[in-house]
């Protein structure tokens, strides 16, 4: 179908009649709203959208989207989506998952989907807790966290999802926040535009089991001090007064105060298309250091890698061109044969 014949969609076209069963106040509502706003803009026929999810609160997402949707089993959404996308590269396939689904039980599928660069868009809702099972710690919970399953605090070091994705050779890695609607929509648009695997971590609040998990980033007064909004081609500046920046010093990043001879020209200019993952890796790890902000936005968008499904289709096309399309009669009668006469 060409865009000329494409119906003009509105947000409503992507809503279903199903009662939404997330807790009142859950961050998932904001994400659903952002997705329902962005999908109509993408110029893709609605029937081409497929949303695949695993298990967990986030994975109920497909039921609320009026597209094709498949609520699969715990952790396996990337594998189901890979089979779907390889069989049907024409479809626009989005995966919805969470920190438990994607990084614990589905960790293996997540990293293999990313290294293959299957053309899937992944929204990973990170609320640092198991919500649907009612409050156990997740692979992104901070160390020492007291939860139902860790009354004396967790002993596990948490995953940094962005760093994990970059380590798995992801070609597109981004982070946004449920309540930063404009930023979230903008990030989703960029993910949609990326050809290969796009991994978007969405910091999401679970107001029942882990309320305030991201408060230091979302609270109005604190937000500009603690969030670094990455913009391609722009120097890395943050702070309420836009007076702090990130500077590269050897192989290290440092926070500097602008003024006293330090100007914007001294700051690191974000390059999301940087060919080397080590660059995005540096950014991914800054938040773990005292005094550093948490970067949001696109950390890496590298287009120089072919999509998995395209390589597969191309291989089939090439073989068919070189050897001709398969002939079943010839296949069955191939090799050494002999005839028994009546």
């Amino acid at each position: 179908m060409t865009t000329a014949t494409l119906p003009v969609y509105t947000k409503k076209d992507f809503q279903t009649d199903q009662e939404i069963r997330w807790c009142p106040g859950c961050g998932d509502y904001a994400i659903l709203s952002a997705v329902q706003s962005v999908f109509p803009e993408l110029g893709i026929p609605r029937e081409k959208f497929v949303i695949i999810s695993g298990i967990g609160c986030s994975s109920r997402f497909p039921y609320y989207m009026n597209t094709f949707g498949f609520h699969t089993i715990h952790g396996r959404a990337p594998a189901v989506a890979t089979g779907l996308k390889v069989a049907r590269p024409d479809l626009e396939v989005w995966v919805v998952t969470g920190d438990g689904d994607s990084l614990s039980i589905g960790g293996n599928h997540t990293i293999h989907m990313l290294r293959r660069n299957v053309g899937l868009k992944v929204m990973m809702f990170n609320n640092r807790i198991y919500g649907l099972t009612k409050g156990q710690y997740s692979p992104t919970s901070e160390i020492g966290k007291k939860t139902k399953s860790t009354p004396y605090g967790t002993a596990d070091r948490p995953f940094n999802p962005i760093s994990l994705a970059i380590g798995a050779e992801a070609t597109f890695v981004a982070r946004s926040v449920d309540v930063f609607q404009q930023h979230l929509k903008d990030t989703l648009r960029k993910a949609a535009a990326h050809k290969g695997s796009a991994y978007v971590e969405i910091l999401q609040n679970c107001n029942i089991f882990n309320d305030h998990a991201w408060e230091s980033l979302t609270e109005k007064d604190a937000r500009s001090e603690h969030v670094l909004q990455l913009e391609d081609g722009k120097p890395m500046i943050f702070g309420k007064n836009h007076d702090k920046g990130i500077r590269l010093n050897g192989f290290e990043l440092e926070v500097v105060q602008l003024g006293n001879g330090i100007t914007e020209k001294d700051l690191l200019v974000h390059d999301e298309r940087h060919p080397r993952p080590s660059y995005a890796f540096l950014l991914a790890h800054m938040e773990q250091r005292p005094g550093f902000p948490t970067p949001i936005g696109v950390l890496r968008a590298w287009e120089d890698v072919p999509r998995y499904e395209d390589v597969i289709s191309e291989q089939i096309r090439e073989v068919q061109e070189n050897c001709g399309k398969g002939d079943l009669g010839k296949l069955l009668g191939a090799g050494d044969t002999w005839e028994v006469r009546a």
Binding site: E47, K48, G83, L331, V340
Partner: protein
């Protein structure tokens, strides 16, 4: 050739109805290739045959040791062959370890060809032999042909300028050449194969061909063998034949299914013995549009196939027992979302890693019940290597017609065993009609076809059919998430009814042999060969025996219960602890008796015969 001879020695040529030959040696000795070559030549000659490759799980256990022994047995005949043979007429043993492991199966006065060059003190010690069998008279009851295989091969290849290691690796072809001479077979097929196989290495083409020719000439020139044997071609039904293994037949069957359905085939698979050959073979069929996906694990293998089935392709996954265990939850998902999917389990010895390269039939109950809750899945089982082709087509047809996952239970013996296979005419292949839902008007994802209870296959990309599916319980008809008690019971019953209703496509069983009488043998899968052979033999003894071989294990054929009642006794031989037996006893309240062998090896004809005799005493 030696100039001393003035003419070929006078020898007797004896015509036999059948013969069993076994090649055995170290896993590095090329015994599987040697056996396959003998098999192909024999098949092309027109004998009926059955093979039994038997190899260790280790790639290369230490050379010359007992765990490293690899063997390949073939029975070939001028009449119908059902098994690779209980005992061996001619044994070729490349070292003492192979001799020790295989001698018990050699018939009294059988032919025994040994590599004399590998019977040194070290070789005997590696085989844990305390005395040299060539000197201690333990081989007196056999027709012994100690041959300096290594030295003779080296002599034959001395002018090629190859290193000793490469030369020594040709000695299996020397032994093969000897066997060709012994059974009056032409070298042509293997000559062609060698040329093809080593095309990029002309020196090896020359070396292997020379070695094989030298083995043949050695027998002709010496007076080692007083008798040669002739096994005339079998009277197979007219047609064009090829030799086929079970795994190869499955692979081709799924390509045929894809062509008949007009849908691309998607295989999601993770390498596992003894199923990997299906992945290997299908990955070569890109000209048929086959997509093969070597997944990161068994779970991704099946879930990617579910994704492909959702997309409108034929979803297939292939594995063995441990992989089946991992796929369990995903099979339940396929049951819940009612998508067509084929799961092939090439069974091997278990539990756990078990006996990776040995055969067993112990996954039947896992296939029947191995999922949480009520999750019925139809089960098919091929009876012979060639039958694997037809089972692949039938499994795909049922999966699509009824929108269900289907399990195919093959096993290691069928997978690697080979038999002559009559190449079907394309017009003999069943139709596999496919209908994707297109009409958005009143579309309901779980509205069922009244005859098959299948739900519509509504693939993404179809305008107006946007809908959601998933593992949560569905509301009947709408497919919406629903937790109501009565709806759940209704859906459980509908899924069960749908699978049970497949019986309308299952042909009634017609027992082979006697249609009523003293004993009915009910069996399934790869026991077909030995059971058939044993029943034929025992009926000639005057017993009235019937044989039902089940290809459909779920649902079972409609008339099976009636048939069971026509015989005084029922025997169920299985390579497990009695799994089909348990199902039959539960379903039909029949006092059937099990006969169980769990040794990683197929039944011998004689074992089944003894059991029959014991029951009819």
């Amino acid at each position: 050739m030696s100039t001393i001879l003035v003419g070929p020695p006078q020898r007797k040529r004896e015509t036999l109805e059948q013969a069993v030959i076994r090649f055995c040696g170290d896993s590095g000795d090329g015994m599987q290739i040697t056996g396959s070559q003998f098999t192909n030549t024999t098949a092309l000659y027109g004998n009926d045959l059955a093979t039994l490759p038997d190899f260790p799980a280790e790639i290369r256990a230490p050379a010359g040791t007992l765990p490293g022994v690899s063997g390949f047995q073939v029975q070939f005949s001028s009449s119908d062959v059902y098994t690779p043979g209980d005992t061996v007429d001619a044994l070729i043993a490349m070292n003492p370890a192979a001799l020790k492991m295989n001698l018990p199966d050699l018939k009294p006065n059988g032919i025994l060809i040994l590599n004399l060059d590998d019977f040194g003190e070290t070789d005997l010690r590696k085989a844990q032999m305390t005395s040299n069998p060539l000197e201690d008279h333990s081989l007196d009851g056999y027709r012994l042909f100690p041959t300096e295989l290594t030295k003779l091969t080296r002599a034959a290849l001395k002018d090629l300028g190859l290193d000793n290691k490469s030369v020594d690796r040709c000695k299996n072809f020397f032994a093969l050449g000897m066997c060709y001479w012994l059974y009056n077979r032409s070298l042509d097929t293997s000559m062609r194969w060698i040329e093809e196989k080593f095309r990029s290495k002309p020196a090896l083409v020359m070396a292997n061909r020379l070695a094989m020719q030298a083995g043949y000439s050695y027998c002709e020139a010496t007076e080692a063998f007083q008798i040669t044997y002739e096994i005339p071609p079998a009277k197979l039904s007219p047609g064009v034949y090829r030799n086929i293994s079970g795994n190869s037949a499955l692979a081709m069957g799924f390509v045929a299914a894809s062509q008949k359905a007009g849908l691309p085939l998607f295989l999601g698979s993770y390498p596992i013995t003894p199923a990997s050959d299906i992945l290997h073979e299908l990955s070569g069929y890109k000209n048929f549009g086959v997509i093969t996906f070597q997944a990161e694990d068994e779970i991704a293998a099946i879930t990617s196939a579910i994704g492909a089935a959702y997309a409108g392709a034929i979803g297939l996954t292939t594995t063995s027992g441990p992989g089946m265990a991992l796929k369990t939850e995903a099979m339940g998902l396929a049951v819940a979302v009612e998508l067509p999917l084929v799961i092939c389990d090439i069974q091997r010895g278990g539990p756990s890693t078990g006996l990776p390269t040995k055969t067993e039939q112990a996954d039947l109950l896992q296939a029947m019940f191995g999922r949480n809750s009520e999750a019925p899945i139809p089960i098919l089982a091929p009876a012979t290597p060639g039958d694997c082709f037809w089972i692949a087509l039938e499994a795909t047809r049922i999966a699509i017609k009824y929108m269900v996952p289907v399990i195919v239970l093959s096993d290691g013996y069928l997978a690697n065993g080979a038999e002559p296979w009559k190449i079907p005419d394309l017009s003999q292949l069943p139709e596999i009609p496919v209908k994707f839902e297109k009409n958005p008007e009143n579309f309901r994802p779980y509205r069922r076809n009244p005859e098959t209870l299948a739900r519509p296959w509504a693939i993404p990309g179809t305008p107006g059919l946007e809908h959601r599916i998933g593992g949560l319980e569905k509301q009947d008809v709408t497919g919406n998430v629903n937790y109501e008690p009565l709806n759940h019971e209704r859906m459980v019953r509908l899924r069960a009814e749908k699978v049970a209703g497949i019986v309308q496509d299952v042909p009634d069983v017609l027992p082979a042999g006697d249609s009523s009488g003293d004993l009915l043998i009910v069996a399934w899968g790869s026991t077909y060969g030995p059971v058939t052979a044993a029943v034929n033999a025992q009926r000639e003894e005057g017993h009235r025996i019937g044989h039902v071989h089940l290809r459909h294990l779920n649902p079972l054929p409609k008339n099976l219960g009636q048939i069971l009642g026509r015989y005084d006794r029922v025997l169920v031989p299985e390579m497990n602890m009695g799994q089909l037996l348990m199902i039959l006893r539960a379903k039909y309240l029949v006092d059937a008796i099990g006969y169980n062998k769990i040794q990683g090896k197929p039944f011998k004809q004689s074992e089944i015969e003894r059991k029959i005799e014991e029951m009819l005493e």
